[in-house]
């Protein structure tokens, strides 16, 4: 038996919850330069159990590998708008938006969340990209704007239908938030920045906390019987079911936002007005239509098609799987693939090639499993 490693990097510094994970039975793997929990042992452990628990109750994920950045100073919003295709200056205090860092060619350097905290703009970027993102921002932001890296912060994600009840019991103000809103909170003297967001498709929160208080918060959350810890494995299968692309797999600096089916991240007004890096090539793709587009594939049978598998219409190769796996919720394999535009209509019958076998696949709308974000009652 042999298993391909998930990542090849060598672990650097331990993250604030490193010891906590090990005490809680985590299996740690190198990821984004850190050691991160892939799954936990015990009765509630294992990717499928952790996945299902997130859909039914609430799970605590450590996403402290992600980069937490602050952009402040005069005209910080305008400065960010020169680099991001989304409306930033129009973002009201306490509101957040999904956006993209693009290069001059319109390729995606990273995807990120931007929040107007009132004091500044908070950015949460992918762990594996954060050093490049920081270099890119330093190079292109004007001198009047200050970039801060909150490297000592931890970031915990509490995700699932019971997340609001659990966090609300500790920090009442959290339950007043709706999807994509954020606020500051004081929890027993510990400053928290709480966002009602996440990457599982469920209702939930991401909580920024000073690293030295991360264990206390993780313990307080998991002391609640409705919460179990969950690792990167479940996070990946959850986001795949939710149709959410993963940077480095479903988008890279070689993919543009239109082909990646992330056109919603290009704020309408700014598609024409431009003024952001990569606008010209992206506007051309918007006008002419992309050659390929990211689609969802639902596969027959039980054999998953993984990243790299070819997608065929008859004998013709029409695309490539960029992430795929087995959906615990649906009980069948699902995938995301970039497919030639003429084969992207929902319901199109295609095939994936896995180990010289052809698996029947159908282009399927995403999310595969409906989102259950809390938008207010």
């Amino acid at each position: 038996m042999s298993e391909e490693p998930l990542v090849e990097e060598i672990a650097l510094d331990p993250l604030p919850l490193d010891a906590w994970h090990r005490e809680n039975g985590a299996r740690m793997v190198p990821f984004a330069g850190y050691e991160m929990p892939i799954q936990y042992a015990g009765e509630h452990g294992g990717i499928v159990a952790e996945h299902n628990w997130t859909r039914e109750s609430a799970s605590l994920f450590d996403v402290s590998h992600m980069g937490q950045l602050g952009v402040s100073g005069d005209q910080a919003g305008e400065a960010l708008e020169a680099l991001l295709p989304g409306g930033i200056t129009s973002l009201k205090e306490g509101r957040m938006r999904y956006s993209l860092l693009l290069n001059e060619e319109g390729g995606i350097l990273d995807d990120l969340m931007v929040t107007n905290t009132g004091q500044q703009y908070g950015l949460v970027v992918n762990g594996a990209c954060k050093w490049d993102d920081i270099a890119h921002l330093r190079e292109h932001l004007p001198d009047a704007v200050t970039l801060t890296h909150y490297a000592d912060n931890a970031l915990l994600a509490l995700q699932g239908p019971k997340a609001a009840d659990v966090l609300g019991a500790l920090v009442p103000v959290a339950s007043e938030l709706t999807f994509m809103k954020a606020c500051f909170a004081d929890w027993e003297g510990v400053p928290l920045w709480i966002s009602r967001a996440g990457y599982t498709g469920e209702d939930g929160f991401e909580i920024a906390v000073p690293g030295k208080h991360a264990e206390k918060l993780a313990n307080a959350l998991t002391e609640d019987d409705r919460v179990n810890p969950a690792g990167l494995g479940a996070r990946d299968s959850l986001r795949l079911e939710a149709g959410l692309p993963l940077y480095g797999h479903d988008m890279t600096d070689g993919t543009d936002p239109v082909s990646a089916d992330l056109t919603f991240a290009l704020t309408k007004k700014r598609r024409e007005s431009g003024g952001w890096m990569g606008h010209e090539p992206v506007a051309a793709i918007l006008a002419n239509g992309p050659k390929q587009r990211r689609v969802g594939l639902l596969l027959d049978g039980r054999m998953p098609a993984r990243e790299g598998a070819g997608v065929y219409a008859g004998d013709t190769k029409v695309g490539t799987v960029t992430s795929g796996g087995f959906s615990p919720t649906l009980g069948q394999p699902i995938a995301m693939a970039y497919v030639d535009i003429t084969h992207t209509a929902d319901g199109t019958a295609l095939e994936c090639e896995v180990r010289n076998k052809r698996l029947s696949a159908t282009v399927s709308p995403m999310p595969f499993v409906p989102h259950r974000y809390f938008r207010g009652s």
């Binding site: 038996m1 298993e3 294992g46 159990a49 494995g233 299968s237 054999m303 087995f326």
Partner: protein, 123 residues
């Protein structure tokens, strides 16, 4: 019936001229939830150390190698409907396939129960 182990975490039970092959409990634990097992066809000729089967867990596909050279005589059809048998009973019900034993000498390089336990303890 003697059971042998490979350093790739396959086990092999030998009974006369026939051998049954599976993966160890340690292996299934490492793989996590198994969602699909691709088994060799009956009649396929396997080489010692060559590809024999593929185990798909939620997160990844992993190769299983043949511990010996021989011809596949039976594949465990129970795994088609219930691949999780490999998780719940790696040592017994979750066996993968049966094959002929063509060269007894090939067993000599394999570990016995005690040696395998020591091998795993050192990982």
């Amino acid at each position: 019936m003697p059971r042998y182990f490979t350093d790739e975490h396959e086990w092999i039970d030998v009974e006369g001229e026939t051998a049954t092959v599976g993966i160890t409990d340690y292996a299934q634990e490492q793989l996590g939830d198994i969602v699909f097992v691709e088994l060799p066809d009956v009649g396929a000729i396997l080489d010692k150390g060559g590809d024999a089967a593929v185990v798909e867990s939620v997160k990844a596909a992993s190769d299983v190698y043949s511990p010996i050279t021989g011809e596949v005589t039976e594949a465990n059809s129970a795994l088609e409907d219930e691949p999780a048998l490999v998780n719940s009973s790696a040592d017994e019900e979750g066996w993968f396939f049966r094959m002929t034993l063509s060269d007894r000498d090939e067993l000599e390089g394999l570990m016995d129960d005690k040696a395998y336990k020591a091998f795993v303890d050192n990982l």
